[in-house]
Symmetry: C2
């Protein structure tokens, strides 16, 4: 089959996903909400989330504008050395990448802030209806994200036929992800910490008390961090993995003639989306009403459909089975990494119990044991990524030159094939979490709360797995991006006639590579530190705003009827501060990349990216898992273990949870994005680094 066939098929399947999203949106929207209190608070959350998005998108538009101009002038090669068309294409692709991701995020927030109310209300009629409301709400986001990423990549490729433009598109998606994930992460933890500090600690009012000016910001945070943020992150990974695979595929296809491998990438990606569509459309909760099982079983269904359909495609279109094997290996390892993360964070397993036990001796032991298990948790995941990369490479190496690295890229495409399902499950989490809060505020009664609690707990379990999955996928993707970087460099070197600059790899015994690696290793640590310090600073601002409102708004503290706090002001401050704190961290990563490139050229960049990948994976796994572990240890103690709520162990566990919050929701998952951004900057600037560097 021709490449065009697969491009058209991909575009059609993307629209199928949009169609399903629209149906589910309509289905969720027509569910009734009768409780006025829920409507009121739900409306505030919705408005707050939109305020954040609007602010974020305004700043982003400026940022994207500036970067687009820079791209137009300098990339892929400075405009005075190149045709304007190529640079313009690149700049436009960049803008589209950001735009597509932004639209998907916007849709996700729209549905999530309706679905939360509908889920709360549906819980009155039992768990099955409530589950369907939450799950289908999440699925709208899943379908929107994956549909638009596949559509975007297909369109760019169809129009330009140019893989460099794809990297531009991918970079646009990464820019947005950086803002959405890291900015959203700072926002959500700022609001969480400030609301707790001023409400629960200082005034002794309950968690979701409407007198607290930060309470809406806190609920908004769940949506912007976990729905919009995670969606943009996986949009980014998905686009990056397809782009890397296509860069490598086209490079092989060029030497062989034809477009078999590029077609195969689209074929597999389209099948992945199709499998997710079927998985989402057929998801049902069993008679026993176990939501965790329902979520997991639809993931397994999707995985199986993907495996079978790609095998079928491989047979029909006469693709190489080795590549199918690489892609299946990626998918299996993704699931295994998810299961490992689950072991280290699940409250039925030993690590959570041990941290809860250690908490009896005080907060220092909560922290020490949590950090220790977080460190331990990195080994199986890193070995898993290593094995899948090695396996994919060795499987595909005999196929010919270039296939080995393409195999790794296809392993990451395989791992990300079920991403539609993953995002659906992930967005389900904050929706039911919000629903729980709304049910409490709307006084829906204990029976309803029990239902929402069950739904919420399933969301937490699934979240640990999807986070591990996201990190694993990012790991493989960036290895493939490293391959794409080499491919870009060599293409540029060939075009420029710099044949002595063609690279086959990066030797760590080359001190330029080693120098780059040492700098690269430090980046994720510094980036995480800047984000965490950003949360701290931003929380100070929000806390003083809360104090001001309690001081200046008469009757607020006393809960006088008709007096309500200025929620928007807190959301404004959180939003503004989050984006302000994020920008230096993002710039630091980008500027150091450029600096290393100008100092040591492409070899230093190779080392830099390698160091960045390995230390980024290490820290992301450590921080995400430690954070999840502390969260669940606290919940485990609250369920009555080790002295239960109010005990010394509980107080210690709360300290652990507070440390874990920015670990798992701000810094840890943002590292993925940081790595991708840096890899793409390097690839985009490859020609410049090739021709202008001190030691290169």
């Amino acid at each position: 089959m021709s490449l065009t066939f697969f491009l058209i098929a991909s575009i059609i399947i993307s629209f199928l996903a949009f169609g399903l999203a629209a149906c589910l949106y309509a289905w969720v929207k027509k569910l009734p909400v009768s409780n006025q209190r829920i409507q009121y608070v739900g409306g505030l959350i919705r408005r707050g989330a939109n305020t954040f998005l609007t602010r974020e998108y305004i700043i982003l538009a400026k940022f994207v504008g500036v970067v687009a101009v820079l791209i137009f002038v300098f990339l892929p090669t400075p405009i005075w050395k190149n045709s304007i068309t190529e640079n313009l294409t690149m700049a436009l692709a960049y803008i589209f990448g950001a735009l597509f991701s932004a639209v998907a995020g916007k849709i996700g927030i729209q549905i999530a802030t309706i679905a939360n109310m509908k889920t709360a209300e549906s819980a009155k009629t039992g768990i099955r209806n409530a589950f369907m409301a939450g799950f289908r709400g999440g699925a709208v986001m899943g379908m929107a994200v994956v549909g638009s990423s596949l559509l975007g990549v297909s369109l760019i490729f169809l129009i330009t036929g140019n893989t460099t433009a794809l990297l531009g598109f991918s970079f646009g998606a990464s820019s947005l992800a950086l803002f959405a994930k890291a900015g959203g992460g700072i926002f959500t933890k700022t609001a969480d910490i400030s609301a707790d500090l001023c409400g629960k600690v200082e005034l002794g009012i309950p968690e979701d008390d409407p007198r607290n000016p930060a309470v809406i910001a806190d609920n908004v945070g769940d949506n912007v961090g976990d729905v919009a943020g995670m969606g943009a992150d996986l949009f980014d990974s998905n686009v990056a993995s397809m782009s890397a695979a296509l860069v490598l595929a086209v490079s092989i296809d060029k030497s062989l003639g034809g477009a078999v491998n590029a077609g195969m990438v689209f074929c597999y990606a389209a099948i992945g989306l199709l499998a997710s569509i079927i998985g989402v459309a057929t998801a049902r909760i069993g008679k026993k009403g176990d939501p965790t099982r329902a979520l997991n079983s639809s993931t397994y269904v999707t995985t199986a459909i993907f495996g079978i359909l790609t095998a079928l495609a491989t047979w029909v279109f006469d693709y190489r089975w080795e590549i199918w094997g690489a892609s299946a290996l990626g998918l299996i390892v993704g699931v295994v990494i998810g299961i490992t993360s689950d072991y280290f964070t699940n409250d039925n397993k030993s690590p959570v119990h041990k941290v809860a036990k250690a908490s009896e001796s005080g907060p220092a032991f909560t922290i020490l044991s949590g950090i220790s298990y977080g460190f331990l948790s990195t080994l199986p995941a890193l070995v898993g990524i290593g094995i899948s990369a090695l396996g994919a490479y060795k499987l595909c190496e005999p196929l010919g030159p270039g296939y080995a690295m393409f195999g790794i890229a296809m392993a990451s495409v395989g791992m990300l094939s079920i991403v539609g399902m993953i995002i659906s499950n992930d967005a389900y989490g904050p929706i039911v979490d919000n629903a729980r809060g709304l049910a409490e505020m709307g006084d829906l009664g204990d029976d309803v709360l029990e239902v929402t609690d069950t739904l919420d707990s399933a969301g937490n379990t699934v979240k640990a797995i999807t986070k591990g999955f996201a990190i694993g996928a990012a790991g493989l993707t960036v290895i493939a991006l490293l391959g794409a970087f080499i491919s870009e460099v060599n293409q540029a070197a060939t075009e420029l006639g710099l044949l002595d600059k063609i690279i086959t790899g990066f030797d760590v015994m080359n001190p330029i590579v080693f120098f780059g690696m040492l700098v690269g290793v430090a980046i994720p640590a510094v980036f995480s530190a800047m984000l965490m310090l950003g949360v701290n600073k931003n929380a100070q601002r929000m806390v003083s705003e809360i104090h001001r409102q309690f001081r200046e708004i008469v009757g607020l503290k006393e809960g006088k009827k008709g007096v309500s706090p200025d929620y928007d002001r807190c959301i404004e401050i959180g939003t503004h501060g989050a984006l302000k704190e994020l920008i230096p961290a993002g710039l630091m990563a980008i500027i150091l990349t450029i600096l290393v490139g100008f100092i040591g050229g492409v070899q230093a960049i190779g080392g830099f990216l390698t160091g960045n990948i390995v230390s980024g994976l290490l820290l992301a796994l450590f921080m995400s898992n430690s954070g999840g572990l502390w969260d669940n240890s606290k919940k485990y103690i609250e369920s009555g273990a080790n002295g239960g709520k109010g005990s010394e162990a509980h107080k210690a566990a709360v300290v652990g949870d507070t440390v874990g919050d920015p670990f798992k929701d701000t810094a840890g998952p943002s590292i993925n994005t940081q790595i991708t951004v840096v890899s793409l900057v390097a690839s985009l600037m490859s020609t410049i680094f090739l021709t202008m560097s001190i030691f290169g």
Copy 2:
């Protein structure tokens, strides 16, 4: 000059160092101690430290025995394929490496546990005398360690003329360092935490109350962790850097004929020791009596003497100035890294103030800000190591093949040249710390306490610098060891006629290398986690022993005259537990190295070592600096800032300090040793990995 000349000179200078050590030992010993209480408690500490050492050395002797037999049978090549002599030499060299380091450690403990009493007593006559007692006590250790490391390396080289045997000697030193540093680190924090938990927290008795059964163990811990542990660590680094330099030098010399470069290594190392001898012998405290200044100025004097004398030698013996430059660069970067560590942990600087400020919001913020600054602190040090490696390589590359890597090795020799001075300063710390405790227990009065406090605070400041220095030195040394590994592999490949297996480097785009790297990256994290969990488990054992004593020894709790606790039992438990917890961690690192080698051969090992080095440096810097930062933040608050002692901020800072203790005294500094051990195992088994591996 002939190589033999430099070998003889090195041996003579080693004995000069021993002579100075003996003089200083005699000088300290003849200082008077009249206070009976000091004599009593000091005697207990001395006996306890010796109990630990004896226990440690017994277990070590078994371990060394087993490993020596394994070496004899398998290394450098299995005995059935090789002459017995070579394997026997290797096994003996290994035993000597462990033995030399053990003797130096024993001497250090002997003097430190006398000097603490003498310093306390001398403090009655003012700061100058007390400083000299503390400093000269530390200097005995410094001279013993560096003298015996130079002597050992010279003798092995003189007798065998074999660099492989040197690696055996170095591996012996590393084995001991692993026990001394990691075992001592677990012991000291076990005792510290248990004593605090049962004494200060549960019973409300003061820090150094003699009723507490763990109080002597706590004081013993300072000596075994900081004197014996740090000494063994730097003995190890020093031997490893010389060995790596010699392996590379001999390989160059072989191709050129002669032994110029090997001679140069000994020349520089001997000058380094000579400079330290002069620095120690001329150290005086100024009229103002500022001990920090006295310590720093003798370090600068040593640095300057080394720079001048090596320049002179380079001129006289007609060495290459480029190599002198590399070595000077290493030394300068070492000092710079020390200064950076100081910035992040000094209580006059911003990070400490910010962590103290954050502590006002509770322990979670102490932890978050401390971790963040710890992460930030890794960047300058990693960049520094990168620049010195790159600079040394580029300086020496034009000299011919092999010189580039030799330049890096000489940079690490340069960095470690002043190690005699560094150890002297470092051992000074626990001596004056102990002296402070003794002065308090001996009721020497406030004037004396003021003197010992000043001495102690200087010790803490200097400690931060030496820790940074030790990590930097280890970083350069292991890069050089990577070069030595390649050199060993190629020598074996040539001898075995496996010319296709000769390696020039490790390409990260080779998936075998990348696989090894991902596993290597996880090792320091897992190793640290095992040590920290070990401290936790061991502390539980000691706490229950303390509870037993209070329950069963009649009159102990009430402080009845003549009733004293069973201090030895606590020391026994701490010692036994520390070594028990350490062994699985050490074996994990070694077994995974062997596993990776058998799976992926020398290429996987190259990646493994690289990953291990970069993640080890990252985590060691992070943990040491965060730990130091928390310690000093607590002290800063205790000095009256942010609410002072007893405030909420202080309570939060105590949590930070407790987390930081195993960070900075157990896990962080042990990572150095772990990296060196793994590198040496890899080098020693290079022939085996070359001929037997699945994917290699």
